[in-house]
């Protein structure tokens, strides 16, 4: 049904490919017109041109891969640059004297790598082609990340309007679980996941344990005290939650459970 096929993404990809292909052919083509080595000998031959275009391509692809990787670990970088090093190793091996003398018709490119890759001319061409392939990608990404206002001004304004903080929490009746609407869905940042899973909320409870324990050891009408203490505890909890104005239901349940565990184990 092509539900998940984005025509926009496809067209963007096609345009990027066409642009890269044109750069990777025409820059070496123009640079090799009527060019020779620095000792006058041939460099614009079929095999050297092929090697030049291929090297430009591989370096451009490696840099593009690095740009597309979100986290650069040591292993990641090792494999990217290692693959490039492997390319050069394999190329020099394939174009070596030994391979030619053993398998003559299969490896006819003998000497090409040695004779063309020691020319500064060739490396400058590679550098130019690679940069021309990579820089537009960097520029577009930078613009799209940092300046979405320029492209989508209306949407950002709407989101800002909706994201106003929820009304200040009020003391709920002690028998009912809070029916306050959860504001967690409106968080624009990473949310309070870290906070919830850290132990910071629990810091206050151990202090309250002593009070609650004291409440339990009271006499018969300590039950009212107990209820009052529970109320206090919950109030304290709500005070804590007032600092972070959008508690989640999960957080509430979790604290409730801890409260239950503490008192009714």
């Amino acid at each position: 049904m092509n539900l998940y096929f984005s025509k926009k993404a496809f067209v963007r990809c096609m345009m990027h490919s066409c642009y890269s292909s044109l750069i990777l052919f025409f820059i070496p083509w123009a640079a090799m017109q009527d060019t020779v080595r620095d000792d006058g000998k041939d460099i614009a031959d079929y095999q050297s041109f092929a090697l030049l275009a291929q090297t430009c391509l591989l370096i451009a692809v490696s840099i593009q891969m690095c740009l597309d990787t979100h986290y650069w670990t040591a292993i990641n970088q090792f494999f990217v640059w290692g693959s490039l090093a492997a390319y050069f190793a394999v190329t020099f091996t394939m174009f070596s004297n030994g391979m030619f003398l053993i398998f003559t018709s299969i490896f006819p490119f003998i000497g090409t790598a040695r004779n063309s890759l020691n020319q500064p001319n060739v490396w400058l061409t590679i550098f130019l082609a690679t940069l021309l392939c990579v820089l537009p990608v960097v520029a577009f990404r930078f613009i799209l990340i940092h300046y979405p206002v320029k492209l989508f001004p209306i949407q950002i304004y709407k989101v800002r309007k909706e994201g106003l903080p929820a009304p200040a929490p009020r003391r709920p009746p002690h028998r009912r679980i809070s029916t306050r609407r959860s504001g967690y869905a409106f968080s624009h940042s990473q949310g309070y996941g870290d906070l919830v899973t850290s132990k910071r909320f629990l810091l206050r409870l151990p202090l309250k344990n002593a009070e609650a324990h004291a409440a339990l050891t009271d006499d018969a009408d300590g039950f009212d005290h107990f209820r009052l203490k529970k109320c206090n505890l919950l109030t304290k909890y709500h005070k804590v939650s007032a600092i972070f104005p959008h508690p989640s239901r999960i957080l509430h349940n979790y604290l409730n459970q801890r409260f239950v565990n503490t008192f009714f184990k």
């Binding site: 083509w29 123009a30 640079a31 090799m32 017109q33 009527d34 060019t35 020779v36 080595r37 620095d38 000792d39 006058g40 000998k41 041939d42 460099i43 614009a44 031959d45 079929y46 050297s48 041109f49 690095c66 740009l67 990787t69 986290y71 650069w72 670990t73 040591a74 292993i75 004297n97 030619f100 003398l101 003559t104 018709s105 006819p108 003998i110 000497g111 040695r114 004779n115 020319q119 001319n121 400058l124 130019l128 940069l131 021309l132 820089l135 960097v138 520029a139 990404r141 930078f142 990340i145 940092h146 300046y147 206002v149 320029k150 999960i250 349940n253 979790y254 409730n256 459970q257 565990n261």
Partner: protein, 374 residues
């Protein structure tokens, strides 16, 4: 329920470790934990660096690239402009050109070669080594069938391939029942014009200019890729049983009888031709004019005469032939493209950096003023 799950997962790390440990030698009923080992590598906890395109990295990068590219481009352009080059088209298309009659009267069977002379003047003296090239236009040495039409084993001196060339050389593989050496279309179309250069001084005396014919091919080609078949030092004997290519006037062992290491397959003109060009307009090194000792220019300014033995027909496919005299620098021949490209790209980068800086500045000030107060 969710809270219970959360509470239990609090101790997940230690329990799971016990789980997998106990179930590995557990009984048939125990479910084996599929969780990978708790190492940094397998749990994706490796130290990583996150490349984020911030204004602080991208904008300076653009400026730096611009500032690096522009001087390189200027250097390349200036170097290219300092290279001296002179070109003479001697195809003979125009009725007024000296080689018109040679071009018109060309025939494959003629025994006498046609000679024509072209006069030209060099405005500036050429210093240091001067390289003489022949250039061809509209000649597609990069046609696939043409490029494959050769036998590298035969050219490497393999005796079995000498007598039995590869199938790729068809239809230039055998002639009159004898194998062709060297076989193939590339060898068959060898460039066989002879160019001689003379300097005409003030007394109108023609002085020949010494042209070096060695050292024009790649070292690897001359010493590794192309070998004469072993056997006899007399190449006529070695190549017995083979015949010359169809379009050649002389057989391969007569390419340069005066010098043994420039005869046969290792003839440097032949090697240079066999290195097929990538583009339809190309130039190949023909001769080198060595620099003279002292301060005398290699080619002083003045009048010159180019004597051509016109053997190579190009008019049938609308090609052009020319002779090029050129000096060389560290970046090769005269090619202003790289210099211009570097200057252009550097300027665009710099300009883009400036534009992004202006946008960044404007957006930042607008962003600061539009903050909702907490």
């Amino acid at each position: 329920m969710i809270a219970a799950m959360m509470a239990s997962s609090y101790n997940a790390k230690e329990e799971d470790g016990h789980h997998s440990g106990s179930s590995s030698h557990g009984g048939a009923g125990a479910v084996k934990s599929k969780k990978p080992d708790n190492t940094a590598f397998k749990q994706q906890r490796l130290p990583a660096w996150q490349p984020i395109l911030t204004a602080g990295t991208v904008l300076p990068a653009f400026f730096v690239i611009g500032l690096i590219f522009i001087p390189i481009g200027i250097g390349l352009y200036v170097t290219s402009n300092n290279i001296k080059e002179f070109e003479v088209d001697y195809t003979g298309v125009d009725i007024n050109s000296p080689c018109y009659s040679c071009a018109k009267n060309f025939s494959w069977n003629s025994t006498q070669s046609c000679v024509c002379s072209v006069n030209f003047t060099l405005e500036q003296p050429f210093e240091s080594n001067v390289f003489m090239y022949y250039g061809l236009s509209n000649f597609y040495q990069n046609h696939r069938r043409y490029v494959k039409s050769r036998d590298d084993s035969q050219l490497n001196g393999d005796l079995s391939a000498l007598m039995n060339p590869s199938k790729e050389c068809e239809p230039y593989r055998t002639n009159d029942g004898l194998p062709i050496a060297p076989c193939g279309a590339i060898a068959n179309s060898l460039f066989n014009d002879t160019l001689d250069l003379y300097y005409v001084d003030s007394n109108s005396t023609k002085t020949p200019i010494p042209l070096a014919k060695k050292g024009i091919a790649w070292w690897t080609d001359k010493h590794v890729k192309f070998r004469n078949p072993s056997g006899n030092t007399n190449l006529t004997v070695t190549f017995q049983g083979t015949t010359k290519p169809v379009n050649w006037r002389k057989p391969v062992y007569e390419l340069d009888p005066s010098e043994a290491d420039n005869n046969g397959f290792i003839n440097e003109d032949f090697i240079v031709w066999m290195r097929t060009a990538a583009l339809p307009t190309f130039r190949k090194l023909y001769r080198i004019i060595q620099k003279k000792s002292g301060t005398t220019p290699t080619l002083p300014s003045g009048r010159y005469i180019l004597d051509i033995t016109y053997n190579y027909p190009v008019l049938s496919f609308d090609g052009r032939k020319r002779m090029i005299l050129s000096t060389i620098s560290w970046m090769g021949g005269k090619n202003p493209f790289l210099g211009i490209a570097y200057i252009t790209v550097g300027s665009i980068c710099f300009f883009l950096g400036v534009v992004l800086l202006i946008i960044h500045h404007k957006y930042d000030t607008r962003n600061n003023s539009a903050d909702i107060p907490n």
